[in-house]
Symmetry: C2
Subunit: 706 residues, 2 copies
């Protein structure tokens, strides 16, 4: 192994949105700075030319909207209705997604995972229904509408709209619901009357609605002014309980006049219905955006039931088309997809619809395909930061732009642990680590991950029987190289990963280094290569707006045996100040570092036109100790629990948990090839040497005794 | 001119502590980043090898003390007595300097200039006497002891001790003096009884001291606890009014027991006196540091007068040595210097003295030479930041580590204008520009500069008669190239410089660029070259602790004619986002920029081991408008005033003041050769083209008329 080979390190424990640059046999972005022959090197400025030949339009809305978070641009929250209007002005169609709250706790974890996948397409907002029987305002219930909306905002970083009904509540109760929504950071409400409670007995009088959506809209404006973006529903064929289509239109006008800034329509089956509705709205002076609610037909029975509930008639032409294929689910879905695409294409093309609001029914396949066919699915071409910021979607976190590296594969855990912060690090970490991190003890939600995956599946990945640390190391190694293990399965997650996505496919020399480490019992949790001035548009390590340069210090985080810890401490100070290390054990009785006690180290930074330096990722000694507890606990909560308490496998994991040390290494020289793996090799070599010496001594002793 | 030649820009208006790197025919620190052949370039990493082959001792005190400010080390104020004790423990001798307040306003400006020169040698602190007849507590009087001490701390960035006497004041008055000292940031007090007021008539009773130094020390401890470092005076031969040497020692012990943390001795003529005094102090249990007060003999009459005032006897041996040379001032000074060096060498070498406290009598030559001969004069080998920070010397400014670039040649003005800030930018500029900048209207002190220099001398530099903008441009050009002008003098300062030190001697291709600009009427105020990863130890552009890398974006600030402004605005947007510009006119009716309205641009930054990114210099649009007013005013206050109001020269300057625009340019691409001078050339070319077209038109018109 040469110096050159070890400069790029696979970010192994992350879902690898910060993907390594592994396609080259040399340090990818080591610029080879020099002061003696710079003139000759100027021709080689590949990065700068790539970066700067793409002009950045400062006034164009597209790049703003894509990035949502612009380094140095002093991000602040922008109301949803303003962003929608901006999109409409610039003629950039978008989509939004409606979901109902999942019914079970397991469903919640799956739901967020699905949302993360939806997020790739860049929806403008998500819309959560008010599920009356699900105790919708109860934040202590993880499946409530309010909990789910908060999760969408906090953990999935999406701008979130919450439906809210009023007819079954007093005004005070509704205000309390709004107040709570404000407290958890929501800024968008879809105001609805709500279904009338069914008559349980024919003796009871017919229930009349106490409050209407119009009332709630007025209350919101009275109590909260412009705080909330208010949406309301529109009925292309008229509300079934309305006196007439015209009366319903007039009621809609009243809602808009009272403060509704956005109309989301009921589902419809024919483009003409929506087109007429929009025309009629405009004619009576309704000027706010009208988003068409699209529900693709995903099944024969389900669409009939939905139509019935909505008191809508399915057009004969559709029923006729479905009739011959109604027992073929795939054929029905294909028909539904095709019909939706055709209808959406038409209303988008003729300018009636500025966007598509998708009634997903919590499903994924059809909706995604429809959006892709419509060209609305925008896989974001650029990353705003190495980690996913909330951007303009969150009223408090919109200014957040620095995080410790430790949680990079567990961002939801980090968001959970910092959710009570009033203020987030902005520009630099500084002393930001002083605010308390929340405990994880009631962090039920994301630990569900491992119960959602059946234990059997996890045992196939993590091993049916673990006899030694070597067996554990092999699990880590298979996660890195993504080769099938002895059960013929791929290790797509580790206990320290929130998502099950494996590492990037590229197998490279760097992967070899990490595999080697893990096979030696150096269990790598997190790592990043050094980067010396890659263009911000680089597909692998770039982030932020075009025209900038990105940098990284090489980083490695791993669990090592106490023998290895001793070996390391013998020589690591020789590399001062180039290498900063921090090594701890589980109970903190070992806690050594050669860095300043409270000074964070920036390990990822970027230089951009017209801005201060961005430094989104730090290694911070104080938050590292918080991470330590979480990292150790995950051995037991997400791995050891797979085996019986007194089994050998459980003991192996428990022993690692009890005796291993957690180590971080930062190579401060990002210009020269990283020496982090040299350090690891030296450590392992010393441990082996000591072990073989003592074996020899033992053998000798045994000989003498014999 | 090629691209290569224009990458390094002379920082012309600064006293050039951030000196340009001009010795190379190619961009000095353009690393030529590349991703395709990095392996081959690794050999060329000259910077990183230079930087990292010097190990940084993290525990050593020397580098800490030298730098005083360590990037990322979360600087905080360290009490003077602690720093003195640390120096003593580490066996690192140091020196301190005592001054009396100058008597005139002109003297004040000269005094600070002298102190700036003294600061080069790195004194640990300066000590200002309480000059009773000078109204010492009156902050409205620029020559008062308190004003001078505040100036030493604020503008000269030196840890400052203020003498304070008490016998003539009530306790309340003394507390008020202390309170004021605290308010202006002083942390060190030398507590003295003070001279008794002389009896003006023999009829009055003999005045008895009301309060003693011991009283004041007790009051300080009572009222301020550990806030102040308290020093007191010690008398190697006993205080002349003391009952006995032993009684005086006991009184000294009482002062130390009451809280004095440091003893500064009265002057003495023989090493033995100091050595015996220290031994006697230690014997009775005085353990605090005892700094020897050294007053070099600088004149025959003066030393006799001082001895008389101090009631000290000059030893016969010294009188005998001086007698034959007493009319030869140089010989007396040489003798005095030699005697002081010999005495200091002895007490430093035998460990009696941990340091030298120099009674400078406000002079410079001898004291500096003595300190140099003793090896105590440490020209600081490294810069902590591109500009001189206060470091640990200032209780509030110790955390300051970001400034706008505009005041780089007028740091005292910047300090004055921000002196009311409670909090200084730390780590990044961010929104720090919101606090108000003080006006300069009572900023008398540093405008004295131009009255101190006689007007004649300035007219020799700035021109006896100015007939055109070209004449003005030539003054700027001679400042840049430091060639003698038509009067045979060098232009060593411009109205925008606080110090009179000229630019660096190196004349290079870059100087040529700036000279060319100024001769074209593009009047350059400030500039810096781009730097791409120079080692922090680099003699020219490096700063901060070893092992780091320094970066700069090219910057140019200049006054340009409105014709040039029009030309520039025609094409400058073509360079978006690479070039950020901000152009204003005097009254702000023109104020255009392509940068974010409130976002600062980092133009100097550094990456250091174990720290966040340091970004000490920014271009900030908000503070630029504050600087604009100052920069325009200086045309009139520091230049036009040299000429009669209705003279042609006055009119030329007044016209520039009235009609020119102030422009800043930042080249965001620090990796490729800067294009700032290409932009300037294009601007000038367009202006010339327009001018010649209109001349042709005029000639044609004239022909037709004829």
């Amino acid at each position: 192994m040469t110096n050159i080979e070890i400069d790029c390190v696979q970010r192994n424990a992350s879902s690898a949105s910060l993907s390594p640059y592994c396609g080259q046999p040399s340090p990818a972005y080591t610029a080879g700075s020099n002061g003696t022959s710079a003139a000759g090197d100027l021709k080689k400025c590949r990065f700068s030319e790539t970066a700067l030949s793409r002009p950045l339009s400062r006034t164009g809305s597209d790049s703003d909207e894509y990035l949502k978070f612009e380094v140095g641009a002093q991000t602040s929250y922008k109301p949803l209705h303003e962003r929608i209007e901006k999109r409409i002005r610039s003629g950039t169609p978008f989509f939004s997604l409606e979901f109902f709250p999942p019914k079970t706790a397991n469903g919640v974890a799956n739901f967020y995972t699905r949302l993360d996948r939806y997020k790739e397409g860049d929806p403008l907002f998500v819309d959560i229904t008010w599920h009356h029987s699900g105790d919708p305002a109860n934040l202590n219930k993880e499946t409530s509408s309010s909990s789910i909306a908060a999760g969408c905002l906090d953990y999935c970083r999406m701008d979130t709209m919450l439906h809210m009904t009023c007819t079954q509540y007093t005004k005070e109760q509704t205000i309390a619901h709004l107040e709570q929504s404000k407290r958890i950071g929501l800024r968008n409400i879809l105001a609805l009357r709500g279904d009338l409670p069914p008559n349980t007995s024919s003796d009871e009088p017919v229930v009349k609605p106490v409050h209407m959506a119009l009332d709630m809209i007025k209350w919101i404006k009275e109590e909260y002014g412009d705080y909330f973006t208010i949406a309301c529903s529109g009925y292309p064929l008229g509300h079934p309980e309305a006196a007439s289509y015209t009366a319903d239109l007039q009621y809609l006008k009243a809602k808009v006049d009272a403060g509704a800034q956005l109309i989301v329509t009921q589902l419809f089956f024919e483009a003409e219905a929506y087109e007429r509705f929009v025309r009629d709205c405009r004619e009576i002076g309704i000027t706010v955006p009208i988003l068409p609610g699209i529900m693709p037909i995903q099944g024969y029975e389900s669409i009939r039931r939905i139509a019935q509930l909505s008191q809508l008639t399915i057009p004969e032409s559709i029923l006729a088309a479905l009739e011959p294929i109604k027992h073929d689910d795939d054929a029905v879905r294909n028909y539904g997809r095709h019909a939706a695409v055709e209808m959406c294409k038409r209303i988008l093309a003729n300018g009636t619809a500025p966007a598509i609001h998708m009634y997903t029914m919590n499903r994924e396949g059809s909706c995604r395909e429809i959006l892709q066919e419509l060209g609305l699915w925008h896989k974001r071409p650029m990353r705003a930061l190495p980690w996913e910021p909330h951007g303009v979607n969150h009223p408090v976190r919109c200014k957040e732009d620095v995080r410790p590296i430790f949680w990079s594969a567990r961002p939801k855990s980090y968001i959970y642990r910092t959710r009570d912060w009033d203020d987030f690090p902005n520009g630099r970490w500084g002393n930001s680590s002083s605010p308390a991190f929340n405990d994880l003890h009631d962090y039920y939600l994301f630990n569900l991950h491992s119960t959602v995956n059946e234990k059997d599946k996890l045992r196939d990945m993590f091993g049916h029987e673990l006899r030694s640390i070597e067996d554990v190391g092999r699990v880590f190694a298979r996660y890195i190289d993504q080769k099938e293990n002895e059960h013929g399965v791929k290790v797509t997650t580790l206990p320290w990963n929130e998502q099950e996505s494996g590492v990037q496919a590229e197998t490279t020399l760097i992967t070899d280094d990490l595999v080697w480490c893990n096979e030696q019992g150096v269990l790598t949790l997190n790592s990043q290569p050094s980067v010396n001035g890659a263009p911000s548009t680089d597909a692998l390590v770039g982030w932020g707006k075009p025209g900038g340069y990105c940098y990284q210090k090489a980083y490695l985080e791993c669990f090592i045996s106490s023998e290895n810890a001793n070996s390391l401490l013998e020589f690591i100070d020789e590399h001062n100040p180039r290498i900063n290390y921090h090594i701890v054990n589980r109970d903190g009785t070992l806690d050594r570092s050669n860095a300043e006690a409270t000074t964070p180290i920036a390990v990822t930074w970027g230089v951009f036109p017209g801005a201060e330096i961005a430094q989104p990722t730090v290694v911070d000694p104080i938050s590292f100790r918080v991470w330590r507890d979480e990292a150790y606990d995950l051995w037991l909560t997400n791995w050891a629990y797979l085996y019986p308490k007194d089994s050998g496998s459980h003991t192996v994991i428990q022993d690692i948990h009890d005796s291993f040390c957690l180590l971080t290494l930062v190579d401060n020289d990002f210009v020269r090839p990283s020496i982090l793996f040299e350090v690891v090799r030296e450590m392992v070599k010393r441990t082996e040497a000591r072990r073989s010496t003592s074996e020899v001594t033992e053998k000798l002793a045994a000989t003498f005794v014999a």
